[in-house]
């Protein structure tokens, strides 16, 4: 119980505590989310034309990570379950997509519909693994849950070495991906296409997650997080809710891993190490555990941080050897430091800070209007 409470972000508690929406909402939740998704899609298409290819690729990587961090936010932020094994669930999705794409290529099949099929299979595979882990997780609390998910993070990459006939050991598998459709033109930048594919999948996943969060299930998730006994008294099946949260979260992670494999055109156990699982958790905590927007900040952070440290070490005048050493290890240190600073200064994470700011600004404006 106490450990479950420990991961509850104070910010969301405050928001849950507010009674009712401040203004009447227009239309249904689904329509509102659909509208947001369409706007986001339009913005992304515009951005894909405005940005350079490398930035497109980085944005696509952010989108891939966002699937995983959003999943983790639903699990940890909304349901109060901790997972140190989401990197392994990403690996499940990634390997499934690799095996499917290779099977299609071997069978001589081509076509634009193959990738969605592979991605669907990846989500399904991660869902199954997530259900198994989730059933175990529903019986465990706090440090024990962390221990089990940690074991998943260690075991899944190790399986690729044990069954190296299928997974090709540490060298991993190539992921053959079709070039952009000919209809887009012969010189359509590949990175823009990658952004379109990943962003489409991510927006769909986010749309589903956002609706889930606002639905009855989302409310039971939060009820279980805030107080299991009270939730049970209110007629909520706690274990079932926890398994469901884990399954949903695993599906998100599986899709994220699959998209990452498609972007990298290769998959190997080294890409889904324990470090990745820890990074994911740190990213969602820094981003803000309470909301999907926080997951977005976390995903941005995962991609931007190595880039920033590279730029930073380029500014410093160090001997080349020292600079390279520092650059490799600095992201870890900075990530850790950021986590400590954010937890002290803004316990709600980046998103918590932002919403507090906007609330303050709008309150001031409202006050001025009244006077």
């Amino acid at each position: 119980m106490s450990a479950t409470r420990a991961v509850t972000p104070p910010d969301t508690k405050a928001r849950v505590g507010r009674t009712g929406p401040a203004e009447p909402r227009l239309g249904s939740t689904l329509l509102r989310h659909l509208g947001l998704a369409v706007v986001a899609a339009l913005l992304l298409v515009a951005a894909s034309y405005g940005l350079e290819p490398f930035r497109n690729f980085q944005l696509a990587t952010v989108a891939a990570y966002l699937c995983a961090t959003a999943g983790l936010t639903v699990l940890t932020g909304l349901n109060g379950q901790l997972s140190l094994g989401h990197g392994a669930l990403m690996a499940t999705g990634a390997y499934t997509v690799a095996l499917c794409q290779n099977a299609f290529a071997d069978a001589g099949m081509t076509g634009g519909w193959l990738l969605p099929v592979s991605l669907g299979a990846a989500v399904l595979a991660a869902l199954v693994v997530g259900a198994v882990v989730g059933v175990a997780a529903a019986r465990l609390r706090g440090p024990y849950l962390a221990g089990v998910t940690l074991a998943v993070a260690v075991v899944v990459p190790a399986l690729t070495v044990t069954f190296d006939g299928v997974f090709n050991g540490e060298q991993g598998l190539a992921v053959p991906v079709e070039p952009p459709p000919v209809a887009l033109g012969a010189y359509f930048p590949y990175e823009r296409w990658q952004l379109w594919v990943t962003a489409a999948a991510t927006l769909l996943a986010l749309l589903l997650l956002a609706n889930l969060v606002r639905s009855r299930y989302g409310r039971t998730f939060r009820a279980v997080r805030d107080d299991e006994v009270a939730a049970r008294l209110a007629g909520i099946h706690v274990a079932r809710t926890q398994v469901l949260a884990f399954v949903v979260s695993a599906a998100g992670a599986g899709l994220g891993g699959a998209l990452l494999a498609v972007l990298a055109q290769s998959v190997s156990p080294g890409a889904f190490s324990l470090t990745l699982s820890l990074f994911l958790l740190m990213a969602v905590v820094i981003g803000g555990l309470g909301s999907l927007a926080g997951a977005a900040w976390g995903a941005v952070l995962l991609v931007a941080l190595p880039d920033l440290t590279h730029a930073l070490t380029e500014q410093l005048t160090l001997s080349p050897a020292v600079a390279q050493r520092v650059e490799g290890n600095l992201p870890l240190a900075i990530f850790g430091l950021t986590l400590v600073v954010v937890m002290i200064a803004a316990p709600g994470g980046v998103q918590g800070l932002l919403s507090r700011l906007t609330r303050a600004v709008s309150a001031r404006r409202a006050g001025r209007r009244r006077s």
């Binding site: 227009l26 706007v39 339009l42 913005l43 515009a46 951005a47 034309y49 405005g50 940005l51 350079e52 290819p53 490398f54 690729f57 980085q58 990587t61 990459p157 190790a158 070495v161 190296d164 090709n168 050991g169 540490e170 060298q171 991993g172 190539a174 590949y190 990175e191 990452l260 972007l263 990298a264 055109q265 290769s266 998959v267 190997s268 156990p269 080294g270 890409a271 190595p306 880039d307 590279h310 001997s319 080349p320 050897a321 390279q324 050493r325 650059e327 490799g328 290890n329």
Partner: protein, 427 residues
Amino acid sequence: MTRTARRGLALATAITLLVASAACTGDDGGGGGGTVPGVTDTEIVVGTHMPLTGPASAGYSKIAPATKAYFDHVNANGGVHGRKITYKIMDDGYNPANTQQVVRQLVLQDKVFAILNGLGTPTHTGVLDFLKSNRVPDLFVASGSRSWDQPDRYPGTFGFNPDYTVEGKILAQHVKTSLPGRKVCFLGQDDDFGRDSLVGVEKVLGAGAVAAKQTYVTSNTNVAPQIGAFKAAGCQVVILATVPGFTALAVGTAARLNFKPQWLVSNVGADHPTLAKQLGAAAGLLEGMVGANYLPMQNDAADPWIQLFTKVNKEYNGDAPFDGNTVYGMAVGYLFVQVLLAAGKDLTREAVTEAVRKGGYQGPGLAPLRYSDTDHSGYGGQRLTRVSGGTQAYFGPTYETDEGDGPVREHTAPPVAPPANGVPTAS
């Protein structure tokens, strides 16, 4: 309702502005017509990806700085056709996902002219198609995988190391001629490295000649089961296709099990200074180890190449510890400068790949470089080394062979001397 309308209008305006600005930048990017990425009148920018951190960085992290030091030496001597070489080194931690990021950054963001000496089979495999579709020359990949030698599929990709099958054949030839009748066993890394090497060994010794075959993965640092199996099988000769850390592990584990075979080690994991550093007080166990190499021995102070590279290392590399990786990095730099010279003053990507295809390069290497229209592999042979009295030295002739069924021949052409100032000149 008006508020929604106002919001919608604002969003629409924002999108229109974004699209408009996109159209402008798009024109700017494409308007450069005819210029070569990474090349100006005074500069050539090339990039690489290396494991500078992480488990694979031991030894390998010294290669790129050594290459950079050699380029600094060339730059101080006037550069190539008046252009200075800038070498961008990116750390990928030996993780293919990172390699994707950093190589894209080099090609799309930093606009490098070529990728030089990208290290690692799994890491580099992932960027082959990307480099091909962007027509970036992919020169002298630092790995002996046979994947780099596919002129039809990857016309711009060239290897540097002798491929692992060639190496396996040469090591096995030594067993056949100098250690006949001994029981031979094989320990290989569980990927292309180990597999290709075993193919070479079996090509020379015959398919059934290897009594026990074992593999290892770098994520598991316990090789006692494998070494125990060798001992149980009564192996007298063990051929290792291992990275340095696992050569040291295998030798150390065998000593603990009181098992003393003759070790034959791939050039990948046979650098004595690296191994001695890992084994520490137990470095004496390396006595008698036979290895393979194809570049001048780093402790051969009489070799003119070593004299040159030591000088460059002192002046431009902060006098970093000098070992086989330093020699390797500088040899790559020397070959690249030769290729740039051969490509001519009007430097284009096509000219550079054409210059490599023409072949005929001679440098510090003992074995011949084989580049041609149909062959994109690097060095075609090796010479054996032995550790005696705590120093590693060459013995016997240099051998060359192919990755097929060709014989293992002696290579008799004498090595060439470096130019006086250490910078190649256009021939």
